[in-house]
Symmetry: C2
Subunit: 77 residues, 2 copies
């Protein structure tokens, strides 16, 4: 993939990190996915190795967990 | 400040995240600081709110802890 993907769940830590990432790499270079709302994207995030949100998956498929908002299991509820 | 600062301590998690950050935002946009070697920069990192490495401090002064390599107290030893 050419874009990064930023997974979040709407938490305050997530929103703050989202703003920072957009400032750093540009909105055009990142897809923002709210996995609390788009729950069908949760398995995709897990496959990349996302354990918590907010997290950024780079175009190379590496996961950067950014601070800590919520675990994936919390998002799944 | 205009550049971001990436603080690390040479750990494998740090090096991996360093490569990802350079790929994402460009080497010219980030200062890389090895606080295991430049120990006089540790207080500066702590003042920004860096609790663990690797961490990226954005030009706005926000801290993004990226994954987890080592705590600052571990680095201080």
């Amino acid at each position: 993939m050419s874009k990064s993907i930023f997974y979040h769940a709407g938490c305050p830590v997530c929103i703050s990190a989202e703003h920072d990432i957009i400032d750093l790499i540009g909105a055009e270079n990142v897809e923002i996915v709210h996995i609390g709302e788009k729950r069908d994207r949760i398995p995709e995030a897990e496959n990349y190795g996302v354990n918590s949100v907010p997290a950024l998956v780079t175009p190379k498929g590496n996961v950067l967990h950014l601070n800590f908002g919520a675990s994936i299991s919390d998002v799944k509820g």
